[in-house]
């Protein structure tokens, strides 16, 4: 059950990486191909972690 804690931090950290990406690309937020891939990876990490948390709490 403690997996939900690991996933919580994984999601928060992935969101923090996205936050950093916003800081680096403001004010246009235009992404390079590499940044776009990075963003997709982080978003998918957040989604997966939230799925686990939702499932475990059910």
């Amino acid at each position: 059950m403690t997996r939900i804690v690991d996933e919580l931090f994984a999601a928060l950290f992935a969101l923090t990486d996205i936050r950093q990406l916003m800081r680096e690309t403001k004010p246009s937020y235009k992404l390079t191909e590499e940044q776009r891939k990075f963003l997709e990876k982080k978003i998918s990490r957040v989604r997966d972690s939230l799925d686990v948390i939702e499932r475990e709490f059910r």
Binding site: Q20, K26, P27
Partner: protein, 391 residues
């Protein structure tokens, strides 16, 4: 704008290009932000604080290692994390100065140095800057001689910045340290605007004390700073308690008196530690940051009425400018100086002192080339929109 509890969320760094002079190099890394999430609880650093019960001995999280690495980073024997550079000044002043002593500071020095000296019961005297706003070894020697002549004794301490906070100018720090030592006076190197952005080698400089600011230049939360010194000075400044309670007979082990025992704990310390590997790497790229600074100022100087009040070409990313053209516009604009603030804000740029159009400071540290170019173009665009000449 979102809220957390009753606080507005600070989203300045996510929404705006921020050229505020003192915030630039203290912006956190992603790793520091993560550390804050995980270590926000009060005594989070103390889960495994074992004998001898002192912060710099804690192995998990690896605080002891960090202290060692920090000393190596600035090439000094011993380092301590302090709650800001000001607390480092205070610890040195309290350890070295006594009532009636005199300490020398720069005429561009930070006020907290003056307060630290006053708190120790000593007096501070200023070393004058020259017409280019530079502190020289010659002026230092003259001031030492003057203090000696007028007071019959030498100053007990010299505290000097490498780059000052008012102009971001480089001062004759190596030569000033040498002069101090020729008179037998210890010198505190104030690296609030250097340690964490450029390579600083304490032994090469010959400084007795190095002081840095975590929240100004080490991508760290406030309040954080560094105090580093050699083994000999550590015996004085980091002396441990030897007092004993008259009723209980209590003693407090190896707590360092001038540091009031453990210093920075929890999220600020862990944030600083998390940023440290990035800081160690980024100091190698200082040259590139200075290039961006010079590019930006060069572009600003194309705007009618603009002058660089700092030394130019720039050797730092913090710069003081005079923007006479914008000031001329402000005199007739219904919003006064706030017209510039508003125009910048519309372009998602923030940082210059709100309402200032005449003399103000900026810092380009940490911006990408794209952001630097965008910001320079924005200033030129605003100038043109208000009828100022742009080369």
């Amino acid at each position: 704008m979102g809220k957390t509890a009753n606080l507005d969320i600070r989203e300045r760094e996510e929404k705006y290009i921020n050229i505020q002079p003192i915030q630039a190099a203290g912006r956190l890394t992603a790793d520091a932000m993560k550390a804050i999430i995980a270590y926000g609880d009060g005594y989070s650093t103390c889960d495994l604080c074992l004998k001898p019960f002192r912060l710099d001995f804690i192995k998990k999280p690896p605080i002891a290692d960090f202290y060692t690495e920090l000393a190596e980073f600035v090439n000094m024997d011993v380092a301590r994390v302090m709650p800001g550079a000001r607390r480092a000044f205070q610890a040195v002043a309290l350890a070295l100065l006594r009532r009636g002593d005199i300490a020398l500071i720069s005429s561009l020095g930070h006020y907290t140095l003056a307060l630290a000296i006053e708190e120790a019961g000593a007096e501070w005297r200023e070393i004058p800057k020259n017409e280019d706003n530079i502190l020289t070894a010659e002026a230092t020697a003259e001031k030492i001689e003057r203090v000696k002549r007028e007071n019959g004794k030498l100053p007990k301490l010299i505290a000097m910045h490498h780059f000052d906070y008012q102009y971001g100018n480089e001062h004759e720090i190596r030569e000033i340290i040498k002069i101090g030592h020729e008179y037998g006076i210890p010198v505190l190197y104030n690296g609030a605007y250097t340690i964490g952005v450029m390579e600083v080698d304490g032994k090469k400089l010959g400084a007795d004390f190095l002081v840095g600011s975590g929240h100004k230049s080490m991508a760290s939360p406030a309040p954080t700073g560094v105090l580093a010194m050699d083994e000999e000075w550590a015996k004085v400044v980091l002396r441990t308690t030897d007092a004993r309670g008259d009723i209980t007979g209590r003693k407090f082990g190896i707590k360092e008196v001038h540091l009031l025992g453990c210093t920075v704990m929890g999220a600020p310390l862990l944030g600083m530690m998390a940023s440290f590997p990035h800081v160690r790497e980024r100091v190698k790229h200082w040259g590139e940051e200075v290039k961006k600074s010079n590019y930006f100022i060069k572009e600003m100087l194309k705007i009618e009425g603009t002058k660089c009040l700092s030394e130019y070409p720039r050797r730092h990313t913090l710069t003081r400018v005079f923007t006479g053209g914008f000031d001329k516009v402000a005199k007739t604009h219904k919003k006064g100086g706030f017209f510039l603030t508003k125009e910048l804000s519309k372009r998602r740029i923030t940082g210059p002192f709100p309402g200032a159009t005449k003399e103000w400071k900026l810092n380009t540290y940490g911006l990408t080339w794209e952001q630097v170019r965008y910001t320079a173009n924005a200033f030129k665009e605003i100038a043109e929109a208000y009828g100022l000449r742009v080369e």
